[in-house]
Amino acid sequence: MIETALTDLWYGFGVALQPHNLMWCFIGVLVGNMVGVLPGMGPLATISILLPLTFGIKPVGAILMLAGVMYGAQYGGAICSILLNLPCHPPHAVTCLDGFPMTKQGRGGVALGLTVMASFVGASWGITEMIFLSPILVRVALEFGPAEICSLMLLGLLAGSTLARGSPLKGVAMTVLGLMLGIVGTDLETGAERFTFGMTHLDDGIELVGLALGLFGIAEFMNSINQVVSINAKYTNVRLRDMRPSKSDLKQAIAPMFRGTLVGSLCALIPGTGPTIASFVAYATEKKISKHPEKFGTGLIEGVIAPEASTHSSVQGDFIPTMSLGIPGDAVMALLLGALMIQGIVPGPQLIKEHPDIFWGLVASFWIGNIMLVLLNVPLIGIWVKLLTIPYKYLYPSALFFVCIGVYAANNDMFQVGETVVIGILGYVLLRLGFHPAPILLGFVLGPRFEENFRRAMLISRGDILVFVERPISAVFIGLCVLLIVLQIYVRIRGTKPPIEIPTVLEGAE
């Protein structure tokens, strides 16, 4: 098994090292890294803006670039947290707790240097996990019939919406709303036009790019305009040689690095628990096993390293269900999957077999991209730090233009720009009412496939809804769904609080 995995990986490196693929990967991580640093811009918005531009390139290059944006942003987000105390991106919110105190002590550079290292270790472990687990999962999943796929999707949707931030009820409501938005347009099976309200522009359904940019672009700008805290750039003067950790720092960092990695990879295995939860769990674990828990929050290396390693290992791990089962764990994964679908590639267990260049190329590019990021982050730290000080008043109008042209370029259709504005207003209203719109994307991407498989399952079972609990594998998934719901209700009744206080996070940059 190890042998085949290594052969496949070798093949993957062959794909990822082709000059044009290498170039797309580089552009992806560079843009991602830059955007990750910019306060108020998230990977979701960036990937959606870049998405239409990838229609012209081959699927492999497109997915390498978009994935690069995603993990590139993870590297950038840490800089923002450590130097500015701004949790621009939720997975790095917890890094602020000890990262910023380190900066105040003049050790910000060391924190950044160690973070880059921890990120690389975490990511490498996540990638290794992906190499060995994905083929196993695929072998199991290829036996699935429509009933099993349906239950699995249900589990994925439920986990993605209840385990994310905010109230689980509201999360589920958002997912169902996403499913509803996915229904808009012509029904593939019967040709009926649903919820188009007579607008022929809606016949092809709502555009993924428009939906994502409305929710995570326009709604976010409305949320942040004139709200952005003044940036304290006092500590942003970091030079390259400040980043080199001393021997004792390194010694202190190694154990938390591996513990964080482990926590992250475990979190990645549970559907729906993304990098944000992984980072919080890692921080809480460190605090629990530490001999001096009271010192956390005063600038401990452990408090920076463990969550960062954990975030990165979980981000890479999230690709496992996305690529091998076609079930995304969070909104970013849903977007990447949507990108593949636009390229005409059907996600699901057959993907690795039918498009080995995409899967193994992606895996190999993760390593190449992560090495690029380490190399980029060390010399470019000065430039990134300068980027931190770009005021929001220049950022959002420019980003708004990118939103417009991105949506337009998707189909060369001005109607969709208008559609995006409407979705943006809806998104802002939802935000103000305490919803987190990320699960909408999850439902939207999975919706049509869910309906198709549900129909098929019902046809095969001759309309017997009990088929979902009669088939053993499907019954396990349904059982897990029930368990998840019961657990949520239990937690609610008990009123258990999260182990650590969550610092205020700029909305939506998930």
Binding site: F195, I225, P397, I405
Partner: protein, 167 residues
Amino acid sequence: MPPAHSPVVDLVRNLVRKRDFYAGGLIIFFGLVMALKGPGYRLGTLMHMGPGFLPTALGIILICLGIAIAGTGLTVPEGEDEDILPKNPEWFGWACILAGPLCFILFGSYFGLIPAIFTCVFVAARGDRTATLKSSLLLAAFVTVFGVGLFSYLLQVPMPLLTWRGL
């Protein structure tokens, strides 16, 4: 001072102060739209589901969720932030952000890419309270040059730079 204190009035008063009440209401509204419009697309049977089956089912689920969300508004004590509008509503800023893309549509359809970018960025930039006329104009000019270079020359987005389609 309210004159009467019947428990029902108290209950309602408690409810309408909560943000979750309106959140639930919105979800119920979406659910109703689907559940009422869904059957019009033909429901079919479980074995041969029509196009209206899933929308109707989802609509009903959404209504239940909406009721549950509004209901939880009753059980939890009043939070700090129960207002639907933020503390300092940015009506002008919001209008500018929404007007930006609308300018892009209008000017893009009739006059081409250059005026579309310029007006979109300029109008949006006016929304920031610290923005001056000069800073907005400069930003708009800069983004226009950059945008034309990137999208028109490099990425070949099919949109004329300057055109006149009349009104």
